[in-house]
Structure formats: C-alpha cells, structure tokens
C-alpha cells in the first residue's frame, strides 16, 4: 500500500495504490487524520486509481474519513475507482453517503 498526498486549492488529495485490507488499513487512518490536521483542507479527495484490491476494511476507512470531513463541514470525494473496489463499494451501499466516481477508463475483460 502506498499513500501520497497533494494539495489542489482547498482540496487535499490522497492517492492510494496497492491493496487495502485489514492489515494495511491498520495505521492508514491515523496517517490520513494527521495529514488532514496539518493541512486543514476544505474538502478531501480519495484517488483510488492505483488501488487494485479493497475489501470491507476500505468501506470502514471511507466512512471514517467521511465523518472526519463532515465534522468540519467539508466534503469527501472518492474518485477513479477500479472495477474490484467498485463492486465492494456497490455492495456496501456507501454511495448513498459519499460521492463515488468510477475510473473513466474501466479495466478490460
């Protein structure tokens, strides 16, 4: 799992790459919270273009991030979701709370 963050105007963008499971999610939320504290962004974007696997640990992480942003009146956008993580998000119904955008060029096959 690789995490990189960048700033675009009032948005803090987190890019996750690799596989997000319970093992990887362990220290990740703390790291995201620290970076949010430091940058105090208006909104937050989770860019999942490089995330090739995610299980329900990812749902819990997105929900926590959503609540964290909501607490300060900010929004969370989840973008560039690949096909396997998208199926997990679809099954969870989390799109009723969080804006989710699939990858513009879905994987073939």
């Amino acid at each position: 799992m690789r995490l990189t963050s960048s700033r675009q105007g009032g948005k803090l963008i987190f890019a996750l790459a690799g596989e997000l499971d319970h093992h990887e999610a362990g220290g990740l939320m703390g790291e995201l919270e620290e970076r949010i504290e430091a940058a105090a962004p208006r909104d937050c974007v989770l860019d999942l273009e490089g995330l090739r696997f995610m299980d329900s640990s990812g749902i819990a992480l997105i929900l926590k991030l959503y609540k964290r942003m909501n607490a300060t009146g900010g929004r969370l956008f989840v973008e560039n979701v690949q096909s396997q993580p998208m199926r997990v998000l679809d099954a969870s119904g989390i799109d009723r709370m969080v804006a989710i955008e699939p990858s513009p060029a879905p994987e073939k096959k």
């Binding site: 319970h22 999610a25 329900s56 096909s83």
Partner: protein, 146 residues
C-alpha cells in the same frame, strides 16, 4: 458434489496472512477459467472470512486458521475457512449488515460482502470452540480443468 481437486493449508492468524490467503486462492482457482470479476469476488470473500478469524476469533491471541479449497463438479469452487477461536454467539445477528463487535475500525460488512459475492455462504459456530465458514461459487459457462 464430486470433488475434482483440493488443497488444505494452515497459517497463524497474523494480518500479514490476509494477502497470502487471497493469493493462494487465486492460484488454486486459476484451474477454473474465471473472469477477472469472478476472481475478484472470490478474493474479496476470502479476505473477509480470514479477517474475521484474525479480528474476531482470536481477538487477543494468535491462533490457527485452516483453509480448504476444493473444485467440485460443474465448475464449482468451494472455500472453507475454519478457526478454533471464541466462536459467534448469534450467527444470524453477525450476518446482519453493519453489525460488528469490532469497533469503528470495522464496518460490519464482512458477511454481507461474502453473501453478495459468493453463491452460498454457510456458517457453523460454537462459542468457545470456533467457527467454520463454507462458501461456494459456480463459474458460469466455463469448464473446470481436467
């Protein structure tokens, strides 16, 4: 259902083994000509079942996780994940979406995901003795390896 191939293995309930379990299932399932979507579904269900062992079966200790993978007739893949942990008091409750005893780090979606992505999910559990989850998925319009 007649068995065509099977493999068994055991590992300690360390979270680093979640990725191993997914990879092992993917290797075994390669004998069935699955689509990427089907393979992704199976890997996700396995990830949930193994994570349940690590988080819930052995919350304060490390214990053995047993896995048995089988290819049955008509292109059916069966995955069994078994632990000797603390067991589930109320299986029906545990299967409800958003129910969790794992705190807010867990979403309570594990069984919901397993049920969405596999054709059948059976859970047998006894408090103090452990839990066995047996899941099956049929690979559509493809034939199993001979």
């Amino acid at each position: 259902m007649k068995e065509q191939n099977s493999v068994r293995f055991e590992f300690p309930s360390l979270s680093a083994n979640e990725g191993f379990a997914r990879g092992a299932v993917a290797c075994f399932a390669a004998q069935l000509d699955m689509t990427l979507t089907e393979l992704g579904d199976v890997k996700t269900a396995v990830s949930e079942a193994v994570t349940n062992c690590i988080v819930h079966a052995y919350p304060d200790s490390i214990g053995p996780v047993h896995m048995r993978l089988r290819i049955l007739e008509d292109g059916v893949l069966e995955v069994q994940v078994k632990d000797r942990g603390r067991g589930i008091e109320d299986v029906d409750k545990a299967r409800e979406p958003l129910f969790t005893t794992g705190g807010e780090d867990r979403g309570g979606m594990g069984f919901t995901i397993m049920e969405s992505f596999m054709d059948t999910v059976k859970v047998r559990s006894k408090v103090g003795a452990g839990t066995t989850v047996t899941m099956r998925k049929r690979v559509e319009r493809r034939r199993a390896a001979r």
